[in-house]
């Protein structure tokens, strides 16, 4: 008898990282059930698991698996590592906050790990179904995380909004998948591409299908006009969650978006897509920065700034091609570092979840918390894109790409927007250092993990600004295939 359901060993091996993360997550849940005494160690364990996964990713044999549903290339490897980096930082940011809120539990790291497993799939998926499943996996985990602060109406509301929007959008995605599948007869991106190249299928339906897909991921990236959920969720969800939620999904979704745009842009139908992306990018940069300018709540401010940053991120997509990956990857790394750092520090400094995280609360704390304030300043400077920081490096490569491909207009919009951006990032800095202290801090959740996260992010941000060569070499190696 031959086993019909036998799964080839190399396929199993090919998803080792995901397996590690998922299993680790499950173990943590079990530990929560049976050994709650070890709670303090959970995050350490989770981080260890992530490290293991990173090792697995690094040693992953390249090539497609599961009949080409997912693939492993140096490219996916690179993005996976970025996702894992974000995961580690998200894990580091959490314990202080959780223990202060008396929420320390196994579920948290478990959800994070499962979520990042989903992201790894998302990064590697080259088939619409796989992509859809991965997307749902990470989304559902995130819904849970967003709602993690049970007793907090803000948290629940944030989760609810996130969930409803997510579900609403995912139905569009499925419909998009259906249309694309129907018109091209394939759910594999390569198959779709070839089908498009041959020009089969009704253009209208195909356009609609792709549009739905792309809007779906634009929603994940919180690009204008699909951004509205972001500020609410960021503000309401527990800060350490946001530290994770505001970066990791973006990394994964960006990969998919690039793939989708590349798939269609190459086709006869591809005419209008670059301009569409350009429009999204310009809208996001301007609206994001404009709305962030007037926020008094630091988390909302960072949410809108995140929207703007996604706008910068997709500038290269306006001129798709093999060269698109490099600026996107560099920008994402920078964004992961500075944004996670900012949110990690916010989650440490702000006492009450849910309520307004007024920027003015930070007044004069620059001298009370020199280390954290310094790191926050670095992150803000980097977000503003001022050298020598990773943020500047990212913007630099993005603009470089734009100019290289004759999108000078986008570059100009970009700088106009970042001028507005500078204004509100600097507000944080002057609150920290130039204003007298308003209120003495209370219930701050500063712990070793958090400090570590802050130092790591800020340090890396500066280091990348001053000496990016090693990273760039690594990136070049990862993107060598293209």
């Amino acid at each position: 008898m031959n086993p019909i359901f036998a799964i080839p060993a190399h396929d199993v091996a090919s998803i080792l990282p995901e397996i590690i993360l998922t299993v680790a997550g499950s173990i943590l849940v079990l530990l929560e059930a049976f050994l709650p005494g070890l709670r303090r160690l959970y995050h350490a364990l989770a981080i260890a698991a992530v490290g293991l996964a990173a090792w697995a990713v690094a040693t992953l044999p390249t090539g497609p698996s599961f009949h080409g549903l997912i693939e492993a290339t140096p490219l996916t490897g690179a993005f996976s590592q970025v996702v894992l980096l974000a995961t580690v930082l998200g894990l580091l940011a959490a314990p202080g906050y959780l223990s202060r809120e008396r929420l320390l539990a196994g579920e948290y790291p478990a959800l994070i790990l499962w979520c990042s497993a989903g992201m790894l799939f998302l990064v590697r998926g080259v088939e619409l179904l796989a992509i859809f499943l991965a997307l749902e996996l990470l989304s559902i985990a995130l819904y849970g995380l967003a709602a993690f602060h049970r007793r907090e109406a803000f948290s629940a509301e944030a989760a609810l909004k996130y969930f409803l929007m997510g579900a609403f959008v995912s139905s569009f995605v499925v419909y998009g998948i259906a249309l694309v599948y129907g018109e091209t007869g394939s759910t594999r991106l390569d198959g779709i591409a070839t089908a498009l190249a041959t020009g089969q299928g009704s253009p209208g339906l195909l356009l609609l299908g792709f549009l739905l897909l792309i809007c779906g991921f634009a929603f994940k990236l919180s690009l204008v006009p699909f951004h509205a959920w972001a500020p609410d969720v960021y503000q309401g969800a527990p800060s350490p969650v946001v530290a994770f939620l505001s970066v990791a999904p973006k990394v994964a979704s960006a990969v998919v978006l690039v793939r989708l745009v590349a798939a269609i842009a190459g086709s006869p139908l591809g005419g209008g897509w670059p301009d569409l992306v350009a429009a999204l990018s310009v809208l996001s940069m301007l609206i994001g920065n404009l709305f962030a300018l007037v926020q008094r709540d630091i988390k909302r401010m960072l949410a809108y700034s995140g929207i703007a940053h996604m706008g910068y991120l997709i500038i290269p997509l306006a001129s798709p091609g093999a060269t698109t990956w490099r600026p996107v990857l560099i920008y994402l790394i920078a964004y992961v570092l500075m944004n996670t750092g900012a949110f990690a520090i916010v989650s440490m400094l702000y006492a009450r979840p849910g309520e307004q995280h007024a920027i003015s609360t930070l007044s004069g704390w620059g001298y009370r918390f020199p280390l954290l304030a310094g790191c926050l300043t670095v992150c803000m400077v980097s977000l503003a894109g001022i050298p020598p920081t990773a943020g500047f490096l990212g913007k630099y490569f993005v603009f470089l790409h734009a100019i290289e491909n004759g999108r000078l207009d986008l570059a100009l919009f970009g700088i106009a927007a970042s001028l507005v951006g500078a204004a509100f990032y600097l507000r944080v800095v002057y609150m920290l250092y130039m204003k007298p202290e308003l209120a003495a801090p209370e219930r701050t959740a500063i712990d070793l993990h958090g400090r570590l996260a802050a130092i790591a992010t800020a340090g890396a941000t500066i280091l990348l600004g001053i000496w990016p060569q090693p990273l760039l070499d690594w990136i070049v190696r990862s993107l060598a295939g293209l």
Partner: protein
């Protein structure tokens, strides 16, 4: 005699639109979630129809997974509704706006 495939697609599209309109117009969270389920199923119907049209099983596979996912979403969603109801005593979305602007 068999119904032309196109009709399934049109039906699905119609369902999808109904679902969308419902999701946009209802105020009760549950009702909205139901409408979303409707949209999801419209999508599933489209998939099934196409799969039949193309005589290719992938579509149906997708439908299965989509249903599973829908179920999972429903679980989380309902949990959230309960949580919010505990805290706010309402699931009228117009009144769930602590977070705004």
């Amino acid at each position: 005699m068999s119904v032309p495939i196109a009709w399934y697609l049109v039906l699905a599209a119609a369902l999808f639109c109904i679902g969308t309109v419902g999701a946009l117009t209802r105020r009760n969270g549950i009702a909205i979630f139901l409408s979303i389920e409707l949209m999801l199923n419209a999508a599933n119907l489209t998939l099934a129809a196409y799969s039949r049209l193309l005589d290719d099983r992938t579509g149906q596979m997708v439908v299965f997974f989509a249903l599973a996912v829908a179920a999972a979403e429903a679980a989380v969603g309902l949990a959230l509704f309960i949580a919010i109801y505990r805290l706010r005593r309402t699931i009228d979305l117009n009144r769930i706006n602590l977070l705004r602007w």
